[in-house]
């Protein structure tokens, strides 16, 4: 990955410049470093929001979005998963409930509820395939 830095000049009004200097001093950073970090964080936030919206609309692939924004596929996927996790699990359970009822298999719903609880608690994935003879 390239470490070459580009210079971008920024013009600020008097009050904004004072705020920048004060904030950079508080963070024990140079004005350049402070502004560079703040600018990159904001740019990432804006681009992630844009990329997730495009991805959800099915307009572009994750690979295209990563290429266009300079973000990684994993960053975009993580941002896509920052939506309503509870609602996603509720939808999972609703589908399982429908299947359990139509198939007359109450055990299926019990297993699905256990799975959803485990995911909600954030338990790590530790399963391994069994060795076969």
């Amino acid at each position: 990955m390239s470490t070459t830095k580009r210079t971008i000049s920024v013009r600020l009004d008097e009050a904004a410049a004072r705020r920048l200097e004060r904030a950079a001093r508080l963070m024990k950073q140079s004005r350049d470093a402070f502004l560079g970090k703040a600018g990159d964080e904001t740019a990432r936030r804006v681009l992630l929001k844009w990329a997730v919206a495009r991805y959800r609309q099915g307009e572009r692939s994750l690979s295209q979005l990563a290429d266009e924004t300079g973000l990684t596929v994993e960053e975009i996927m993580s941002a896509a998963g920052n939506g309503d996790r509870e609602a996603a699990l509720a939808m999972f359970l609703a589908s399982c409930r429908t299947v359990a009822e139509t198939e007359h298999k109450p055990e299926f719903l019990r297993l699905a509820q256990e799975a959803a609880r485990s995911v909600a608690r954030g338990e790590p994935a530790t399963a391994r395939p069994a060795e076969r003879c």
Binding site: S63, L65, E107
Partner: protein, 165 residues
């Protein structure tokens, strides 16, 4: 002898987060294109795991010689090109747009919900494990909810009721 498969970054990230990678390795010899690797950053968890496994020799880099796929972004295009060059390979993809292109081109493509149902059908995963993987996948919100629903229905239909239940 394991079947060879190639993948894109979307499948790798989902499979890593859901905990499917041990099963993927158990089932497939994994090959990847360098453009796919470049989309996985070693500074993030799934990317770090990818590079660790690549260094350990669990993943094999394969050059892409021909460019026949549409512009889907460098990684997805490279994964499809690799699969086109090796028609006997399985292509592992979770991203919908390249998935549709792969299907349209007649490639042997699998996404993670379908892989979970296959692992359940062959008895590698039991119903509880399959549902846990599907719940994790649903919570990630990176795979089409329709595919997750279809996988749930498959597992539900195939589940054997416990005796006396």
């Amino acid at each position: 002898m394991k079947q060879t498969a190639t993948l894109d970054a979307s499948f790798w990230v989902d499979a890593q987060r859901v905990g499917l990678l041990p099963y993927v390795h158990h089932r497939y010899q994994l090959c990847y294109a360098s453009d796919v690797a470049e989309e996985l950053s070693p500074t993030l968890p799934s990317g770090r795991d990818f590079w660790r496994q690549a260094r350990a020799g669990l993943l094999t880099a394969v050059a892409v010689d021909q460019d026949q796929a549409s512009d889907l972004g460098p990684g997805a295009r490279a994964a499809i090109n690799l699969a086109l060059a090796h028609p006997d390979w399985i292509l592992l993809l979770d991203d919908q747009k390249p998935y549709r292109e792969a299907v349209a081109r007649g490639l042997r493509v699998l996404c993670s919900p379908v892989l979970i149902t296959a692992l359940f059908s062959e008895g590698t995963l039991d119903a509880a494990q399959a549902l846990l993987a599907l719940a994790r996948l649903a919570a990630l919100q990176t795979v089409s909810p329709h595919l997750v629903k279809a996988a749930i229905a498959h597992v539900g239909r195939s589940l054997r009721q416990p005796k006396g239940g």
